[in-house]
């Protein structure tokens, strides 16, 4: 039997049907519309949701799959004083609720009173399917916390995406099939 390309994917000689690119189960992306967003001046665990950075990835294809999450935004300080921020990834399933899975620290992207400064906060997270609820819908959000002052993100100084207005931020999530992954020493959580 020859390999054929049909409306539902590629059918191999063995009869196996491949419905998507090998290893990539699903890709989704979005962008926050909260221009010049400030996450307040809270410390520690006072992470604030960055409006509309929520993606519903649906039910994972396999319990051992991973999600690769990419987020980037442009930051600006607010006048004098040292200020910083950092991004955190939250995961949701109906049974677990929203939980912080990873974070950079609220001063991972900061300036220490160096005057007017613009810089990028970028993160690449690897997050596993929930080990206890692998058959449930998975959603993800980006939260930010500020260090010491009202550092702002999603700055309107340029524009790498268009969502209503120009916003310098993007959230992108890939579900990657377990068969295509060597997760090294990473732990599932």
């Amino acid at each position: 039997m020859a390999t054929t390309l049909g409306p539902n994917g590629v059918t191999y000689g063995s009869g196996a049907l491949q419905e998507h690119f090998e290893g990539i189960v699903k890709v989704a992306f979005t962008s926050s519309d909260s221009l010049n967003h400030s996450s307040g001046s809270g410390f520690g665990n006072q992470w604030q949701y960055v409006n509309n950075t929520e993606i519903n990835m649906g039910v994972p294809e396999n319990a051992n799959n991973w999600y690769r999450v990419r987020w980037q935004t442009i930051c600006d300080d607010q006048g004098s004083g040292g200020q910083g921020t950092g991004a955190a990834l939250y995961r949701w399933t109906p049974s677990s609720g929203w939980n912080r899975m990873a974070d950079q620290g609220h001063h991972s992207a900061m300036e220490n009173d160096v005057g007017d400064l613009y810089w990028m906060c970028k993160c690449d997270y690897l997050c596993p399917v929930h080990p206890s609820y692998p058959t449930e819908e998975h959603r993800f959000r980006i939260y930010h916390a500020n260090w010491n002052g009202p550092c702002r993100i999603n700055c309107g100084i340029g524009g790498d995406l268009r969502r209503n207005g120009w916003n310098n931020n993007i959230l992108e999530i890939w579900e990657i099939a377990t068969g295509a992954i060597d997760s090294g020493l990473l732990t599932r959580y």
């Binding site: 909260s34 010049n36 665990n45 006072q46 604030q48 949701y49 912080r100």
Partner: protein, 152 residues
């Protein structure tokens, strides 16, 4: 304006968020907020999420995805713990007016000689005995004076 560095920002005028931060600081209320720093409307203001830093329970609620110390604009307005949008707008307008009045002074910044060159001019003025009124004929003085006069 508390933060005079805002006057010299070459890229942007103060935002509504600057005005709000000032008013909260002046009130002494221990409140934080999250939202668009460049919001312009009351509708946007009403959508801000607020953090009551004095709340007894600041634990995280996984059901909502937010802290239990989170408050709405409506709640805090009722309690009188945050300024009204009109009050924020009034302060914001004042900040922008002051920023606009500094347009010439912001322009000076890029025209001043390097600090090392200014100090060198000053050294030579002193070395040449240009002190007192005579100092106004020095290169240091005339260079800086010309820039100040040009960019008001």
């Amino acid at each position: 304006m508390h933060d005079i560095s805002l006057r010299f920002d070459m890229n942007k005028a103060p935002f509504l968020g600057h005005a709000l931060d000032e008013l909260i600081a002046e009130s002494g209320n221990n409140i934080g907020w999250s939202g668009s720093y460049s919001a312009t409307t009351e509708e946007e203001y009403n959508e801000f999420r607020w953090m009551d830093h004095d709340a007894a329970d600041k634990s995280y609620d996984p059901l909502t995805g937010f802290s239990r110390a989170q408050r709405t604009t409506e709640q805090l307005l009722t309690e009188g713990r945050i300024p009204t949008f009109a009050e924020v707008k009034t302060r914001w307008d004042a900040l922008v007016a002051e920023y606009d009045s500094y347009a010439g002074k912001r322009e000076r910044v890029s025209h001043y000689p390097a600090i090392t060159d200014q100090l060198d001019m000053l050294f030579h003025a002193i070395d040449d005995g240009k002190l007192g009124e005579t100092a106004k004929t020095s290169e240091f003085y005339t260079t800086i004076k010309t820039i100040k006069d040009t960019y008001q």
